[in-house]
Symmetry: C2
Subunit: 208 residues, 2 copies
């Protein structure tokens, strides 16, 4: 699994022209970083008298964030796996009418499959943003700045992953599928950036 | 060095209540990811006939990005190092007037030093954003989506690091120092987010 690589190796591979990791894998990692920053705030809140009333809620949020973080780290591998058949499909010959038809069909399936992974990264990022929103109310003030850092990472993960949805749907022949995927991506962006910008502004107003 | 840790270890430590890594280290990593995505686009552009006229420029940008990436990875360690004296200063006793004066002086110095690291992360992120802007014109269209992912990471690094400037300057007694640091952070945000939002919108208009 990619998560067992060192930061240095991951960044070096990302910077290279190798097909993966690319923007999709980076976005999944960004989502995991954003979730982890939420967990940090939750963990710093547990056991503090001042926030005792929120302790059961915080424990629930920590559980959710931990799942989210693991799922996002796993999505790094899924993104790389979904890219393989796509790059193979692009390389298929199209010399005869039969080959052209065959390539179109294989490519269409690969484009669709490769769009589902970033949609999943976006969904998980929005879930984590909802948790961060709750933590901005119930989490310790000591780590309030880390909430704002977390939402910025989740915002980047959300918008970053959307790029891989849009670049794939642009090439899809089945426009109904493309529209449906774009619609979900648009809605996730709308929902997620609204939360992210609101929480960031709330923290900024406390600090600046 | 922190960059030799696995992604999994880094994320687990980030999620824990250990003082570092926190939002500062995460922001530095986000900047390195954003720089690496720029390098990926540059590396995919080299040797392509269509972009031959830009080859010398691309090589120059790749050199700059590579430096930037390494400096940002090193800033992860510097951030952790600057946090140590700060957390020690917060723990100093203040039972006598002498202790109070002593704590104030030590804390002031630690707050200032701990603000310089995130300012550096912000500067490097803005430098990388300027490079990404140039790559959005001269880089291969094949990887245009990765430019947009890169600018979102650099935007998150910039805004994330600013949080650590603002949370430190808020506690500083020397308001001249605080104002100067805040002013630079404000200006870097203004400059960086303008570039990031412009480049992201440019790519979005191509894809969506």
């Amino acid at each position: 699994m990619m998560k067992h690589e060192s930061l240095d190796t991951f960044i070096t591979d990302l910077a290279s022209k190798a097909p993966t990791p690319g923007g999709g894998g980076a976005s999944a990692l960004g989502g995991a970083i954003g979730s982890a920053l939420g967990s940090m705030v939750g963990n710093l809140t547990l056991g503090k008298k001042k926030y005792a009333e929120y302790e059961p809620d915080i424990r629930l949020l920590l559980d959710k964030l931990s799942h989210n973080q693991e799922e996002l780290l796993a999505l790094m591998d899924q993104d790389a796996k979904a890219f393989e058949p796509l790059s193979k499909a692009y390389a298929l010959p199209k010399n005869t009418e039969e080959e052209i038809a065959q390539k179109e069909e294989v490519l269409e399936q690969a484009l669709y499959a490769a769009s589902l992974v970033p949609i999943d990264i976006m969904r998980k990022s929005v879930e984590a943003l909802l948790i961060q929103e709750e933590l901005s109310v119930k989490g310790t003030r000591i780590a309030i700045s880390d909430i704002a850092v977390g939402v910025q990472f989740l915002r980047a993960a959300l918008l970053g992953a959307s790029m891989n949805v849009y670049i794939n749907t642009k090439s899809m022949k089945n426009r109904d599928n493309a529209k449906e995927l774009n619609k979900e991506a648009d809605e996730l962006i709308q929902k997620g950036t609204t939360i992210a910008d609101k929480v960031y502004q709330y923290v900024l107003d406390l600090l600046r």
